[in-house]
């Protein structure tokens, strides 16, 4: 069986992942809604996952995909903790607007 | 028994003074400092008998740091100065009521320990550690037991600390740099380090910064007057009597032998700076209204002269610097003590509020007078010996140096006598002035005895230090 990358090219995946990663960065910077920022971070992580899978294929090696599992676990854990913090913030502020969190500065 | 024993006594004394409690702290401090003096004297005796009293041990393997306390005649002399002045300084504090005195005396002894360590270390790094260590106690002594309101005191003391700390950090860099060349920090190794002219220049400069600030040489002196004024007198005595000698000693011991080329090349600059300090300090002293500030500026003038002498790189200059260092150490402690006695009784440092004291206490006046005379280098006092050699060395370098620096004997007499006149003479002061107590008189007499004895017969000291100095001068002039 032929390597799929023969047709598409690893570079395309790199570009795609990079773009997706940048979109994630953009999202974190652009939005003030914390939950959407979380989502953007998920996009970033997914971009990397995609890259890992692409490289896994590139090397015809399973470890890359295994690593994606860990990455997913991490993503899940992060989201869990993140949402817990979010809830705590919401309880105090009644909103999750990140721009309200500017008390610590200077 | 070797030289580390003295350090241990002082350190242990610091701990002991702290733990015996406020009531006995001063006595404990006195006992331990006297014991240190006795030990030093004994060691000196042993050393002159040909025994080695050094202590050398490797401390850290990599980088190679050697816990080396070398006893040669120079370090022993300085050690003697330190341990002799410490009990005197402690004795001088006896009449004061000091809060938290156990900490106070512990800090004084700790400082003596650090300064003693600076004088005897042969390893540049260990030397540096002691050098810095000595800053901390004086910082707290000046800060916590000083005079004047908190804000100005804080400003002065913090400035002093940061300033001197800043200077010495450059010295540390220089040491590390030298270490790269030599492989250890021993001064003998560093003397032999092969350095290009440029390296020597920068190393010299780094050392100079550290020492110029500590001595202080103008224009690095701005911390001095304020700190002297704000510190408690014990602190001022420690600073002016011993601590600034650390820097001059270090010039002779470290800076010049390690990097003599820039010193030769730019000799006029450094000697000139020292001499400028003489004039500058003297003229400023004339305008002071606070007695301790006046003495501070006089000290600036004197140490400027000493530094200038050391930078002439001649045997006379360096020996003069060394002798004058000892003499100045004693005389300045005495003068500050006198100032302390007056300002304690009159609760002011303002000269204008003094006067008419001699009528009330001729004894004190005489002793003060002798100190004033010693400070203006009256012959037959130790200071004359030092000043003569210093000025002579400058005359050898360039006659105008001697002429300009020599104005110190005129200007010095001018401000000191002016001060003495305003402080002591005149119609009886309305405020009563209690006669000196036995303890106070003892301090003065001890100092005066030293000054006059060595003024008449300096041979023991000169003979003791000269071979070592000659060796150093040979090293310093190795490129010519």
């Amino acid at each position: 069986m032929e390597n799929i990358l023969q047709q598409i090219g690893i570079e395309n995946y790199i570009y795609l992942s990079t773009l997706l990663f940048c979109v994630g960065i953009f999202g974190v910077l652009y939005r003030r809604n914390a939950i959407v920022m979380f989502m953007s971070i998920e996009i970033m992580l997914n971009a990397v996952n995609l890259l890992l899978v692409a490289f896994s294929t590139y090397h015809q090696d399973a470890t890359g995909q295994v690593f994606v599992f860990f990455s997913m676990a991490v993503a899940a854990a992060e989201v869990a903790v993140g949402l817990a913090i979010l809830v705590a913030v919401y309880r105090n502020l009644n909103n999750i607007d990140i721009d309200n969190l500017k008390n610590l500065k200077g | 028994m070797d030289i580390s024993f003295v350090l241990i006594i002082l350190l242990f004394g610091a701990a002991a003074s702290y733990f015996v409690g406020d009531k006995w702290a001063s006595k404990a401090a006195l006992i331990f400092s006297t014991a240190a003096f006795a030990a030093t004297a004994y060691l000196t005796y042993k050393y002159t008998g040909g025994a080695s009293v050094s202590y050398i041990k490797t401390w850290v393997e990599n980088p190679m740091i050697i816990l080396g306390f070398q006893a040669d005649s120079l370090s022993l002399t300085m050690l003697l100065l330190t341990t002799a002045l410490t009990p005197i300084i402690i004795l001088a504090t006896f009449r004061n009521s000091i809060n938290n005195s156990r900490t106070f005396y512990a800090l004084i002894l700790f400082m003596a320990f650090a300064m003693a360590g600076t004088f005897v270390s042969v390893d540049g790094f260990v030397y540096y550690i002691f050098w810095e260590l000595s800053l901390i106690p004086i910082y707290f002594i000046s800060l916590l037991w000083g005079n004047g309101d908190w804000e100005s005191r804080k400003k002065a003391v913090v400035k002093f600390f940061i300033y001197t700390f800043a200077g010495s950090l450059f010295m540390l860099v220089a040491f590390i740099y030298l270490y790269q060349k030599g492989g250890n920090f021993l001064n003998t190794t560093l003397y032999r380090a092969i350095l290009t002219d440029k390296e020597q220049f920068f190393i010299f400069l780094a050392f100079f910064l550290a020492y110029a600030i500590k001595i202080p040489i103008i224009p690095f002196h701005t911390w001095q007057a304020n700190v002297y004024q704000k510190s408690p007198t014990a602190g001022t005595m420690l600073l002016s009597g011993i601590m600034l000698k650390m820097a001059i000693y270090s010039i002779i011991r470290w800076q010049l032998p390690i990097a003599p080329k820039p010193a030769t090349e730019y000799m006029y600059v450094f000697v000139g700076l020292g001499i400028a300090g003489v004039i500058y300090g003297s003229i400023l002293a004339l305008k002071q209204t606070d007695i301790k500030k006046l003495l501070a500026y006089s000290s600036l003038a004197h140490v400027g002269l000493i530094a200038a002498g050391a930078y002439t790189l001649t045997l006379d200059g360096i020996r003069g610097a060394f002798l004058q260092m000892l003499a100045h150490g004693f005389v300045v402690v005495g003068l500050f003590y006198a100032a302390e006695i007056i300002s304690r009784r009159y609760a002011t440092g303002e000269i204008s509020e003094m006067g008419g004291i001699r009528v009330q206490t001729p004894k004190f006046a005489s002793m003060f007078m002798i100190l004033v005379l010693a400070s203006v280098a009256m012959p037959l006092t130790f200071n004359f010996i030092g000043e003569f050699e210093l000025l002579y060395s400058m005359a050898q370098t360039h006659i105008w140096f001697a002429v300009i620096a020599g104005t110190t004997i005129i200007l010095g007499a001018f401000y000191m006598l002016k001060m003495f006149q305003q402080v002591m003479l005149g119609e009886q002061n309305a405020k009563p002035f209690a006669d000196v107590t036995f303890g106070e008189a003892f301090v003065f007499i001890a100092i005066i005895a030293v000054l006059i004895f060595f003024g008449i017969y300096p041979k023991p000291i000169t003979e003791f230090i000269t071979p070592e100095l000659e060796r150093l001068v040979r090293i310093i002039n190795r490129f010519n």
Binding site: - | T222, D316, P362, Y392, L417
Partner: protein, 626 residues
């Protein structure tokens, strides 16, 4: 034996000093005075033994005690050289010293600090002896500074009066200016000869060693500056008149007879050096001549009895320097000795007068004392005649020798010297007339208490007056014992003036000049009964003279005030600038910190933005920038 005796010579006064300092108060006034006097008398006796010994053997006594100062190229020993010159000096130092001590016992009897006075006097003698007998320049310098110190202490003896203290301080500082010169001279000599011993230097010079002439001249000049300070020559003479603030015995001892002659001693001591530097000799002669003239001029109009004597001292010292400058060392020494006799007598006499008047020093408030104070008057008269240069009083011989030498070498100097002598005769007789003749002009109260001084005061006066009368015999023209005696210590043979016609003519001129001065004084103060005007009424050139050519004011304006001004400048400007610079660094750091603080906005968006920018710049730098 010699060593012990020399030490006794030196330390007898020092012991007196110590005893008086520590036990003087307990001993009581009489005992402390006696103690002090005995101490000096002991020195005198010892001096006498040495003197006779040296006259007999002709060899100086050398004492080496120990090595004092170690320098790279040479050592300075603590050693003494008791030769003809120093012993001669010691003779009158200890001799007159003893007399003045005796005098002081009575004079200072009312002072509560009498023991201190004697302590200081003894200390002074100690230092003076050190100065004289030292075997090298540095030992001389010890004494040099030491006598300066004692002068300071004694001028400011009544320390409650700040004016006196000012005078004392001024004396000390002026001396120190000279001392610096002296020190520099010592440095150069040390550098040139690698020794400070007189004998070594003399040997080196006489053996014709290669010595840089310029440096030698500079050294000589520097030494002379030192002498100017100590011996009150232009431009450093202003302290001496002020020094009259001290008790009168002090003025007699220190500021007339002994200390102020130290400069002459030093130049004579170093004559082998000065001989080789003719330029400097010229300078010395000129300075001496001008000083004598100016001081005499100022002396013409002074009204304070001691000030007149002080200016007269300056003037006479000028004459001595004139002699030194002309290379006539033995003549200068001769004049020193005669001057010591008559000037000490004059001062003590004036002290006696002041004593009688309870501290009054202004001559305008004196007069008519001739009748009451017979002994004082007579001794004073003798001394006045001596200083005016009338034969056969001692001053005639010494002054005449000086003028004669000047005449032979430089007519201008001779004229100046003669003028000064004439003025001297005038103001001395002015002094005499105003004080002793006519009617008493003081208060009734004073008049009531007028009395002759007690024996302890008059005895020294009598002795000194006799010496002033006959002192000239030690160096009579044509047959000078002194020249003979001093020959071993002088590098060049003494001047010998034939007693030819010129000599007699010059003597005649001098006597006539003196008589003119006396005559003018007589006509003005006896015939016309003039009394000097009050301070405010003095006008014209007299005012300039009365105010001493405003020298003090000029010095204040061009030296002291600028120093203070510079001090203010340093204190207010440069100190602030240096300090401000350091604090400024701290301020800059703080300012930057505040700026940095504003960066910390608290906004996550901004933080992330910075994060991203950081990444971009790093990536660009590493991967894209080439």
């Amino acid at each position: 034996m010699d060593t012990n005796l020399a030490l006794l010579l030196l330390f007898a006064p020092f012991a007196g000093f110590l005893l008086n300092v520590f036990f003087g108060k307990k001993l009581g006034k009489g005992a402390s005075g006696t103690l002090g006097t005995l101490a000096v008398a002991t020195s005198f006796v010892v001096t006498l033994t040495f003197f006779l010994q040296v006259i007999n053997t002709g060899k100086p006594v050398m004492v080496d005690l120990f090595e004092w100062l170690t320098l790279a190229n040479f050592n300075v020993n603590f050693g003494f050289q008791l030769d003809q010159l120093s012993l001669l000096w010691l003779m009158f130092v200890t001799g007159i010293g003893t007399l003045i001590h005796v005098y002081s016992i009575s004079y200072m009897h009312d002072d509560e600090n009498m023991h201190k006075f004697f302590a200081y006097l003894n200390l002074f003698i100690f230092f003076m002896i050190t100065l004289v007998i030292g075997s090298n320049l540095l030992i001389m310098f010890i004494g040099w500074e030491g006598v300066g110190l004692c002068s300071y202490l004694l001028i400011g003896f009544w320390y409650k009066n700040q004016d006196y203290n000012d005078a004392a301080k001024k004396a000390f500082i002026m001396n120190r200016i000279g001392d610096l010169g002296f020190l520099i001279g010592i440095f150069i000599i040390g550098y040139l000869f690698h020794s400070l011993d007189y004998t070594t230097i003399a040997t080196a010079l006489s053996s014709g060693a290669e010595v840089d002439a310029t440096w030698l001249s500079i050294a000589a000049l520097c030494l002379f500056i030192g002498a100017c300070g100590k011996s009150a020559q232009l431009p450093l003479y202003t302290w001496l008149p002020d020094a009259m603030a001290g008790p009168t015995p002090v003025s007699a001892l220190i500021h007339a007879a002994t200390m102020v002659t130290a400069g002459i001693f030093m130049v004579t001591r170093m004559n082998f050096l000065f001989n080789l530097t003719p330029d400097v000799q010229t300078v010395i002669a000129v300075v001496g001549a001008i000083t004598s003239l100016i001081a005499a001029a100022i002396g013409l109009v002074q009204n304070d009895i001691k000030k007149v004597l002080a200016y007269s001292t300056v003037s006479q010292l000028g004459l001595m320097f004139l002699a030194l400058g002309l290379g006539a060392y033995e003549i200068a020494v001769f004049h020193v000795i005669t001057h010591a006799f008559f000037k000490a007598c004059l001062f003590l006499g004036s002290g006696s007068v002041i004593h009688a008047l309870h501290g009054e020093q202004d001559m305008r408030n004196m007069g008519g004392l001739k009748g009451v104070m017979k002994i004082t008057y007579i001794t004073f008269l003798i001394s006045t005649l001596a200083i005016s240069g009338l034969p056969p009083f001692s001053g005639f011989f010494s002054k005449d020798e000086i003028l004669m030498t000047a005449f032979h070498q430089n007519k201008v100097l001779w004229v100046i010297g003669s003028l000064a002598s004439i003025m001297t005769a005038f103001y001395m007789f002015r002094l005499l007339y105003l004080t002793f003749y006519k009617d008493f002009r003081g208060t009734e109260e004073q008049k009531h208490h007028l009395h002759e001084s007690p024996g302890l005061i008059t005895f020294p006066l009598i002795v000194l007056a006799i010496l002033a009368l006959v002192g000239g015999v030690i160096s009579l023209p044509g047959n000078s014992w002194l020249n003979h005696y001093l020959a071993p210590v002088l590098a060049k043979p003494a001047h010998h003036h034939e007693l030819d016609g010129t000599a007699y003519m010059l003597m005649g001129i001098a006597v006539v000049g003196a008589l003119i001065g006396i005559g003018v004084a007589y006509s003005k103060y006896i015939k016309q009964s003039a009394v000097p005007a009050q301070d405010s009424e003095i006008t014209g050139f007299a005012k300039v003279l009365y105010n001493k050519f405003y020298v003090d004011e000029i010095y204040t304006a061009i030296i002291v005030n600028p120093i203070y001004a510079i001090g203010s400048f340093f204190r207010d400007v440069t100190e602030a600038a240096f300090s401000g610079f350091i604090f400024g660094l701290g301020k800059v750091a703080n300012m930057l910190g505040s700026e940095g603080k504003t960066l910390q906005t608290g906004s996550i968006g901004f933080y992330l933005f910075a994060f991203v920018l950081g990444i971009c710049s790093i990536v660009v730098y590493i991967f894209l920038a080439k």
